[in-house]
């Protein structure tokens, strides 16, 4: 984004809920997941430290969660994005419940809490077993819901979040090399990781990650049509590119223009004969490559 005048900027907040572990092994695993998620959000993606809240163990009691939401309510703006991470155990018999300290909230309870916020978009990543049972209650407009399982019946321990965390940490997850990790890229990467895990171990697959995008029917990483909201939402906090060099600004705008043309050509691929598509794509890509060279040269001059 190119900044010339004062603009209200979108920001991101995150709530990481680390539920009751039950034993030392799970405690270590969940702690690793929550700590490294926080680290990735703050160090890599540019979240302000005070906008990332981690609730764990006793701090996951209902009262504390309600307090956290109250804070979020005052913090979040209509253009902002809220990320909520559920790390721990779930249960899917009847209403989905995330195991916290004391009486559990159901998925419907979380939905009520989320609905009380005035926020632009909400991304929920639920890595627990049986998380699929929460999908229906949480899905909705301007929301992307990711669950490690497809239903409440998938009650075994999951490995999904291990790979989701990897997606936040590794450059390989950045499929389109735009230096950003989108929610969709992270979900795809994690799903592929789950798939590989069970194949390599020679085990039956007991978890099937799902995604619901903007209230649409839930789908998987194999979806033919890429979910738009998940694709555009990125973990990077959107800090604007500031420049007072008009030539550079122009080059950047031209670059954006080419990127949009490439995107449009890609979307319209099925309607164009293949040789023609390849020719047009190559032309645009070459132009984009040359434009990139010009931008770098201009940046160096500064």
């Amino acid at each position: 984004m190119l900044l010339f005048s004062t603009t209200v900027l979108a920001d991101s907040s995150a709530l990481i809920l680390r539920g009751v572990a039950g034993d030392e092994e799970h405690a270590q695993k969940f702690t690793k997941w929550s700590d490294e998620t926080r680290k990735a959000l703050v160090d890599k993606f540019g979240f302000s430290a005070d906008r990332v809240t981690v609730l764990a163990d006793k701090m996951t009691a209902q009262a504390e969660i309600k307090k956290a939401f109250a804070t979020l309510k005052s913090q979040l703006k209509p253009l902002d994005t809220l990320f909520v991470f559920f790390i721990g155990h779930g249960s899917g018999e009847g209403d989905y419940k995330f195991n916290i300290f004391g009486p559990d909230f159901t998925a419907a309870d979380y939905n009520m809490l989320l609905s009380s916020l005035s926020v632009g978009r909400i991304v929920i990543v639920n890595g627990t077993n049986s998380s699929g049972a929460a999908m229906e209650a949480l899905a909705g407009k301007n929301r992307v819901i990711i669950t490690a399982t497809r239903s409440g019946q998938e009650g075994n321990d999951t490995v999904f979040y291990e790979y989701f965390l990897e997606a936040l940490q590794k450059p390989e997850a950045d499929e389109d090399k735009d230096q950003k990790i989108s929610v969709w890229e992270a979900f795809k990467y994690a799903s592929a990781g789950v798939d590989r895990f069970y194949k390599q171990e020679g085990r039956l697959v007991t978890e099937h990650p799902q995604i619901s995008d903007n209230g649409a029917e839930k789908t998987t990483a194999a979806a033919k049509e890429v979910p738009l909201l998940a694709r555009t939402l990125v973990f990077q906090v959107d800090r604007p590119v500031v420049t007072n060099d008009p030539k550079l600004a122009a080059l950047l705008n031209e670059k954006k223009d080419l990127e949009q043309k490439i995107e449009a050509l890609r979307i319209g691929k099925s309607g164009i004969p293949e040789p023609e598509y390849e020719k047009q794509m190559e032309d645009l890509l070459v132009q984009l490559a040359l434009k990139n060279q010009q931008i770098k040269a201009q940046e160096t001059k500064k």
């Binding site: 997606a167 450059p171 390989e172 997850a173 950045d174 499929e175 389109d176 090399k177 735009d178 795809k188 990467y189 592929a192 990781g193 590989r196 194949k199 390599q200 171990e201 020679g202 080419l258 990127e259 490439i262 890609r266 390849e278 794509m281 190559e282 645009l284 890509l285 070459v286 984009l288 490559a289 040359l290 990139n292 060279q293």
Partner: protein, 872 residues
């Protein structure tokens, strides 16, 4: 208990009412008339109480329960005294025949028949005795006089039909069988004995279900009739229902524990699955009847399979001593002459067979069968064709033709033939399974590479293709150069992710656990690495092994003996890649220490007729080190010379003499001495103790002590790389202590012996790379890919290493595999692939792949730079 007694198949096939299996329909069988059954049952239960209390009666009972030697004198006395009761005569007949006293039986019954020409039971026995020893005309002469006798007429009709069939008069035989069946359908045949003949007549005329049903009735209502159980077992075995057949034979033995026919049935049905039991059954029956023709022929057949021709001849001679006109014996002589390249003898024996029975297609089925066992698949197909020429309804021949056509790469014709065979014999579960498998070929990608036609399952074809094609061509180029032989193509290679499909492709049946791959000469097939537990086998060495068979089979026109073929395949595995090829595993060490290795002349037996559970695997190992020994002592030219002599079909003793200048005995002496020397330092108990104490020291934290102990263990038995091996423990300790150099050396040594240590190999790769040995690291990672070919991380690392070493072909292979594995960073993989293509000088592919990268990630700068390089 047999449970559900329908003639079952593994899948589908026979359903509902029995009809003639091909061609023409018959009206429903009378057996399915319940009223008739109700009428039938009481008659089956009729007995004559008083008879059993006489001496003859008691003797009959003794014979019935297998006490032949006790029964015979009393029975002989009774018959001699004029007691021609059918039960008495038949019991005496069986008592003599089942003890192998064929000539005595024939002479005695002939004499009694001459003195009492109207004694029908005696004439029946005389006829049968003559038939058994090959006097077919004399047999017919007796049967023809008693066809309408109320007591034994049906038996005579059946026996006559059997002799007519056995001497090629098929039409007359069929008429006779039909006569018996009509007698049954009209209700004239009612006695249990006659019902058994009716069932056998149904069987002979392909009314298999009706025969099965009637045998069920007979055995249920005459449960003391051991013979009925044996015939039932034979029918079930013929129709591929081995478990039920075995149960039936066991039921027979409950009645008559010595019954040779029942023991033979068990021997045959357990030959493949339980060779030890099979062998015991033969031994048991030969104690009772040392002259049992079928038993000797069964042994002969197995001896021919393991190329022990002299011993096979001895067995056949024992059979022909009883019946010089035995068609089965003469057929075996013919097939033995053929595989020994003795055309004159083959012609002579084949002529003898066809003179006795011009329609005896089983001659060619036997020929085909023995050719198949010796991997002479083309010859097997040709003989099967000959069999069909004599008898177009010989579905065994048709099935053999189909299967062997598939083995020589004639897929279309093979499939069409099998379909016809299956239509003719829908009980043939092997055909059914093979045809079902062939239907599934639509799920396979089929493609050609320079020297192979390749079939890989669609679900893994993309991921495996780069590595499989690379290794296939490498095997071809390496081994054809080494053996100075280019195999005739096209060579078909198939890989099956479902082990059951692989088993069906090779044997027609699922459930063959331990085998990983099979070669047929121009076709070789194997399990896919995804068909088994991870790290349980090395697919690379298996492919190499099987391709070596292609070379050695073709070089010798399939005349290479089994031990040499398997030995060379494992020997070549060892030279194909470090760590490949089985080394001295515990069972082999145990066999060596127990002096269980076989002399060369008997080594094929270890594969074909194993006497203990691990003998097949021990034989593989022995054969491979035998080849190592020959190479070491006589050089590889010695091996090549041996192959040439086997191609000329020279016997093994001559091959060793001419190629190596040694007798088999001298060779065995030297080889066994060498093997003993190899293992003399290994004390198994001491070795196990070292591993245990090493583990204890590790657990107690005394790492220095543990190091010393594990080093001793490795020094004693370096080949041991199975569970809890010293290498992995030692390497772990070294890493804990920070001694990466020592860990590296330890893992390098492990790699020279183990082909399945994925973890160790990957750790080694990491250590080598850290140390700057990128070539060594690449080699180690490549080794790992032959264990787990779908390991993404391994391919990623290997791709980087190969790119850094400018090994662009190898790098391209890695990135193609990553893309096929749906690596998350697809843009990155396409870009790297493009770079590798560019390095290879392949600008077209480079351009195509960099475009793919940029299509996913238009702003990907390295890819943009490459694109500009390519378009400018």
């Amino acid at each position: 208990m047999k449970g559900n007694v329908g003639l079952r198949m593994v899948d589908g096939g026979c359903e509902g009412k029995l009809q003639r299996v091909a061609g023409f329909l018959h009206p429903p069988s009378a057996i399915r008339n319940p009223i008739f059954l109700l009428l039938l049952l009481p008659l089956l239960l009729v007995s004559c109480g008083a008879f059993w209390q006489t001496d003859a009666g008691r003797a009959v009972e003794l014979a019935r329960t297998g006490k032949y030697s006790e029964a015979a004198p009393a029975l002989e006395s009774a018959v001699n005294g004029g007691n021609f009761d059918p039960k008495v005569v038949q019991s005496l007949y069986h008592s003599w025949i089942r003890q192998g006293e064929y000539q005595k039986a024939r002479e005695k019954f002939e004499a009694w028949a001459a003195a009492n020409p109207s004694a029908a039971p005696v004439r029946l026995a005389a006829g049968r005795a003559n038939g058994l020893v090959g006097n077919y005309d004399a047999a017919l002469a007796h049967f023809n006089t008693i066809l309408n006798n109320p007591a034994v007429g049906i038996a005579a009709q059946f026996e006559r039909a059997k002799v007519l069939e056995g001497t090629g008069k098929r039409d007359q035989a069929n008429m006779a069988y039909q006569g018996i069946i009509q007698g049954f359908q009209s209700g004239r045949i009612r006695s249990p004995g006659d019902l058994l003949y009716a069932a056998r007549a149904m069987w002979a005329t392909e009314y298999f279900h009706d025969a099965n049903d009637l045998l069920k009735v007979v055995t249920q209502d005459d449960p003391k009739n051991a013979e009925a159980f044996v015939f039932w077992g034979d029918l079930l075995a013929e129709k591929y229902n081995e478990p039920e057949a075995i149960a039936s034979y066991r039921d027979a033995l409950k009645i008559d524990p010595r019954m040779p026919e029942a023991h033979l049935g068990l021997a045959k049905t357990t030959a493949l699955t339980d060779p030890e039991t099979s062998s015991k059954e033969i031994d048991t029956l030969l104690e009772t009847n040392p002259n049992f023709i079928d038993a000797h022929l069964f042994l002969a057949d197995a001896l021919i399979s393991s190329t022990q021709y002299e011993k096979a001849e001895q067995e056949i001679t024992k059979a022909t001593a009883v019946n010089p006109n035995s068609l089965e014996a003469l057929s075996l002589l013919a097939s033995m002459a053929f595989v020994r390249n003795n055309k004159a003898e083959f012609d002579k024996q084949a002529a003898r067979v066809l003179q006795i029975n011009p329609a005896y297609s089983t001659l060619y089925v036997t020929m085909a069968d023995n050719c198949e066992k010796l991997r002479l698949y083309k010859e097997a197909a040709n003989f099967a064709k000959e069999g069909l020429r004599l008898n177009p309804r010989d579905f065994a021949a048709m099935s053999q033709l189909g299967v062997n056509l598939l083995r020589i790469g004639e897929e279309e014709e093979g499939r069409a033939t099998l379909e016809k065979a299956f239509k003719g014999d829908p009980f043939n579960v092997l055909n059914k399974n093979t045809l079902t498998l062939m239907d599934s070929f639509e799920n396979f990608d089929q493609f050609d590479i320079p020297n192979f036609k390749v079939k890989l399952h669609k679900k893994e074809s993309a991921a495996l293709r780069p590595y499989v094609t690379d290794l296939l061509e490498r095997a071809y180029n390496t081994l054809s150069a080494k053996y100075h032989f280019k195999p005739e193509g096209p060579i078909t290679f198939e890989m099956y992710p479902d082990h059951a499909d692989f088993a069906v492709r090779t044997f027609g049946l699922p459930g063959i656990g331990g085998i990983l791959g099979v070669s047929f000469g121009k076709v070789f097939v194997m399990d896919s690495p995804t068909s088994r537990k991870p790290d349980s086998f090395n697919w690379g060495s298996t492919l190499w092994h099987e391709f070596t068979h292609i070379i050695t089979l073709q070089m010798t026109d399939n005349h290479i003996p089994r031990w040499f073929s398997e030995g060379l395949s494992v020997y070549e595995e060892r030279r194909g890649f470090p760590g490949w090829g089985d080394d001295l595993k515990l069972p082999y060490l145990g066999a060596i220490k127990a002096k269980k290795l076989l002399p060369v002349a008997q080594l094929d037996d270890g594969f074909m007729r194993p006497k203990y559970e691990e003998q097949v695997l021990v034989s593989y190992y022995q054969a491979s080190i035998l080849c190592d020994f020959i190479d070491m002592k006589y050089g590889f030219p010695g091996i090549l010379k041996m192959l040439d002599l086997y191609k000329q079909q020279k016997p093994t003793a001559d091959v060793f003499k001419e190629a190596l200048g040694t007798s088999l005995e001298d060779f065995d002496k030297q080889f066994f001495a060498w093997v003993d020397e190899k293992v003399k330092g290994i004390e198994l108990e001491a070795f196990t103790k070292l591993l245990e104490t090493g583990d204890e020291a590790m657990q107690m934290g005394d790492l220095d002590m543990a190091v010393e102990i594990f080093k001793k263990a490795i020094a004693m038995y370096p080949e041991y790389t199975d569970a809890h091996n010293a290498y992995e423990s030692l390497a772990d300790i070294y890493l804990k202590k920070g001694d990466k150099k020592a860990a590296t050396e330890t893992l390098k040594q492990l790699m020279t012996y183990s082909e399945t240590s994925f973890k160790g190999t990957v750790t080694l790769a990491g250590l080598l790379q850290e140390n700057g040995d990128t070539a060594g690291a690449a080699r180690a990672l490549e080794a790992a890919m032959y264990i787990r070919p779908l390991d993404m991380e391994g391919h990623q690392k290997l791709g980087e290493l190969l790119m850094n070493q400018k090994q662009y072909s190898g790098a391209a292979r890695e990135y193609e595999t990553l893309l096929a594995l749906n690596a998350p960073d697809r843009a990155g993989a396409y870009y790297k692939l493009a770079e590798a293509n560019f390095g290879q000088g392949n600008r077209q592919d480079a351009r195509r792949n960099v475009m793919k990268a940029l299509e996913i990630a238009p702003s990907y700068e390295p890819a943009q730079e490459l694109l500009l390089k390519l378009v400018r």
